[in-house]
């Protein structure tokens, strides 16, 4: 490195130093501290007491922990695939050349612009068992709707329903990918007499597979961390019989309501490992199915 280069390096570092300081103080340090605290009995106010792996061992026997993990997987198992399929369908429909296409696109995207808290408040009313719009609509079909948010059997489906409504972001990503599929492929398939389904199955899906994969990974991460809707729906609790107590909500309760920050830190690391493992598994198992045009 010449003198000039070294000088440039220092000046460059100086210019980005606010970011580096912020990154070290507000990201690296808290993350590192949370590793230490996860091995402590720590209530934020008093000195942490080292307890070894007690927090991790407690998790094994804490039935609420397992219940919250089960609830979260239940949510993810439905919300994620349904979300991927429905938003893909919506994207395909919005990609057709129909009149008023921009208007439809805007309508499908609108829900993603509404803050989660506001949307949750509105959905609480839509799902109200006595006056809710949803049950009114079901009544026209002569179906007696359930008590969506009061019946433990229906709390998770309610939240899944709401998550599907706000899939606009995913739709937009799909749309962008769909428009990138070369027209020539469809044209040659048409010459060979391919049906619409065959074109979708053998051209569209492979061509947008990297985007499906991207949405899958983002979906895994997002749905396992689901928090705000459930927190608003049940005012910070877990809903009737803890039926909608998601992992992140239970973590929050431990950290800020029960003041067991050590346990909460341990939970956070376990969640991180779960997401890491699932992402790795998803990457491995879909490796052969993804087609990158550049390769």
């Amino acid at each position: 490195m010449t003198r000039g280069e070294r000088r440039n390096l220092w000046i460059g570092l100086a210019f980005i130093s606010p970011w580096i300081v912020g990154f070290l103080a507000f990201t690296v340090y808290p993350v590192a501290a949370s590793v230490y605290y996860s091995f402590c009995d720590y209530d934020v106010l008093t000195k942490p007491i080292w307890v070894g792996t007690l927090n991790y061992r407690d998790m094994l026997t804490d039935r609420v922990f397992w219940q919250s993990l089960g609830n979260t997987f239940y949510f993810a198992a439905f919300a994620l695939p349904l979300g991927l399929i429905i938003s893909l369908l919506a994207a395909v429909l919005l990609n057709q050349s129909v009149r008023g296409r921009p208007v439809f696109r805007a309508i499908f995207f609108l829900p993603s612009l509404i803050p989660v808290v506001a949307a949750s408040m509105v959905w609480l009313w839509i799902l109200n068992g006595s006056f809710g719009l949803l049950n009114q609509a079901l009544e026209w079909l002569h179906i007696r709707g359930p008590q969506w948010v009061a019946d433990p059997k229906w709390t998770k489906p309610s939240l899944i329903l709401m998550s599907l409504w706000a899939c606009g972001n995913t739709v937009v990503i799909y749309l962008a990918a769909l428009q990138d599929v070369p027209r020539s492929l469809y044209e040659s398939a048409e010459i060979d007499g391919a049906s619409a389904w065959v074109k979708f199955r053998h051209i569209t899906i492979p061509m947008i597979s990297p985007v499906i994969y991207f949405n899958l990974i983002m979906g895994i991460i997002g749905s396992l961390q689901v928090f705000a809707q459930a927190y608003v729906f049940f005012s910070g609790g877990g809903g009737p019989n803890r039926s909608a107590l998601f992992y992140a909500v239970y973590l929050f309760q431990n950290a800020f309501e029960y003041r067991q920050m050590g346990y909460a830190c341990a939970m956070a690391w376990v969640l991180f490992l779960i997401i890491l493992a699932l992402t790795w598994a998803a990457t491995r198992s879909t490796r052969k199915l993804i087609f990158y045009a550049g390769e």
Partner: protein, 475 residues
């Protein structure tokens, strides 16, 4: 050029340092006339805030050494905890008495024993239960502002319509249950027509089938449901033994839960859920008691404010909520209080206590509590206070607070968790998913486990903490 780099780096480093230290800049707070400024955080808004502001203004006028600056803070418990942890708390803060065990054990508060002793504040000055509420592990952590007790509120008009004497409240829980059947009205389909009838007049088969819609109910334990964990008190039960043992599944608590379950069995789980979904917000004219959907509720002394605001024409009265065995347990109630505390690390504890002491003298206390339309925490009450109090049943609430069966939230630092755990048991029992005993056994097992963890911690740090508290002497 190297000089330039060095200067640049130095400048940036200094800037960063200034920003970081700026957060911890401790202003030596004094007003322009050299009075010590006391920072006071309080949770109140609206008319409750106005009442406290008037008392603060009186205090500021009454002397020329201290100036109290009040700030309204939402979610005050959470923010105070963080402020104390960060070492920059206010001098005085308004908490709730049930949060004192947690705050004091975590070392977030200043013990007030010596300050109280020096200024002659003692137990005899107060309604006994309220003084006890301010103590934990043998130390005094706060002094009361506005206390409250809870009582049965009933709707006289609904009593009259049901053929009951509107001036005679139930005197035992069994009597309340019998009245409940009379007061409850349902819509039921009979021979293709919807009829509106009293629950009492339903045939056994109709009661069994539960194919009706609840229109109004005499009493529901889950409305408003703020003390679901403590129904055991009306059965003579307790939630812990005062030492190292949780007693969630005591026979009395199981009896209370069986009583909760009865309502679900009688009215039907789904019927109750759709009835519950028809309720408006508590602070609105559509709340079930104010809109005449529920005839009898357990509510606090503050209920008068909501009746006055949202349903001024409601014909109502208040009396002790009857116990299962009213002979043995007359006048059961739950008492809690708003309290003033001095957080640990407060800059002016002596001056802060002077203000707290002032609030706890008769005139300011009565002014504040009259403003809140509650009763005062002090043993002595002026006749004018009672005479000018707008709540016609204020003496009922005072008597309840003075009753030997006045109870309170268990003094446990894990109360929040205990409460959430019992709420789940309530859900299970009311959905007929679990028997009372099984649901409470689960609570017992889990909370004892959690409590043992707390005790284990206390056993390691307790002695040190107690010594620190006894040695504490305010500057």
């Amino acid at each position: 050029m190297r000089l330039l780099t060095a200067r640049l780096l130095l400048g940036l480093a200094l800037g960063t340092a200034l920003i970081l230290t700026g957060c911890d800049r401790r202003v030596e707070g004094r007003t322009s006339d050299k009075r010590i400024t006391i920072q006071y955080w309080e949770k109140w808004t609206g008319f409750e805030d106005d009442a406290m502001q008037a008392v603060v203004d009186d205090f500021n006028r009454s002397q020329d050494r201290i100036f109290v600056k009040k700030l309204t803070v939402s979610q005050i418990d959470r923010k105070l905890m963080l402020a104390a942890a960060g070492g920059d708390p206010p001098d005085v803060a308004g908490l709730w008495s049930h949060t004192l065990p947690d705050f004091s054990e975590k070392g977030a508060l200043t013990p007030l024993d010596k300050l109280a002793q020096q200024s002659g504040v003692k137990r005899e000055d107060y309604i006994p239960v309220i003084w006890d509420l301010c103590r934990h592990r043998g130390f005094l952590w706060g002094l009361p502002t506005t206390p409250a007790s809870v009582a049965l509120h009933w709707n006289k008009q609904m009593f009259r319509e049901a053929g009951l004497d509107p001036d005679r409240p139930p005197r035992s829980l069994d009597e309340l249950d019998a009245m409940n059947d009379r007061l409850t009205v349902v819509d039921i389909e009979r021979a293709g027509k919807t009829e509106r009838v009293r629950f009492l007049s339903l045939t056994d088969a109709e009661r069994q089938a539960k194919k009706f819609r609840l229109v109004q109910v005499g009493h529901l334990p889950q409305e408003p449901g703020w003390w679901m964990q403590m129904w055991g008190y009306w059965f003579g039960g307790d939630l812990w033994d005062g030492d190292r043992q949780i007693t969630a599944n005591s026979p009395e608590n199981i009896a209370a839960f069986a009583w909760l379950r009865q309502h679900a069995e009688k009215f039907g789980v789904d019927n109750l859920r759709s009835f519950g979904a028809s309720f408006g917000n508590f602070a609105s004219p559509q709340s079930p008691y104010l809109s005449g959907k529920v005839a009898m509720v357990l509510q606090g002394v503050w209920m008068y404010n909501f009746i006055d605001k949202f349903a001024p024409h409601l014909e109502w009265a208040a009396a002790p909520f009857p116990a299962k065995d009213p002979e043995r347990f007359p006048q059961v109630t739950i008492v809690e209080s708003d309290v003033l505390v001095i957080p640990k690390g407060a800059r002016h504890p002596r001056e802060a206590f002077e203000f707290i002491r002032y609030v706890n003298t008769q005139k300011p206390m009565e002014k504040l509590c009259l403003g809140h339309r509650k009763f005062t925490a002090l043993a002595e009450v002026s006749p004018e206070f009672i005479k000018s109090h707008p709540n016609p049943f204020i003496t009922t609430f005072i008597e309840l607070a003075k009753s030997p069966h006045a109870r309170y939230v268990p003094r446990l630092s894990i109360w929040q968790e205990y409460k959430d755990e019992v709420a789940v048991a309530v859900d299970r029992v009311q959905a007929l998913m679990s028997s009372p005993a099984a649901a409470l056994d689960q609570v017992q097992q889990r909370m004892q486990w959690k409590f043992d963890r707390v005790l284990r911690r206390w056993d390691t740090v307790g002695n040190e903490r107690v010594k620190e508290w006894s040695d504490y002497d305010a500057r």
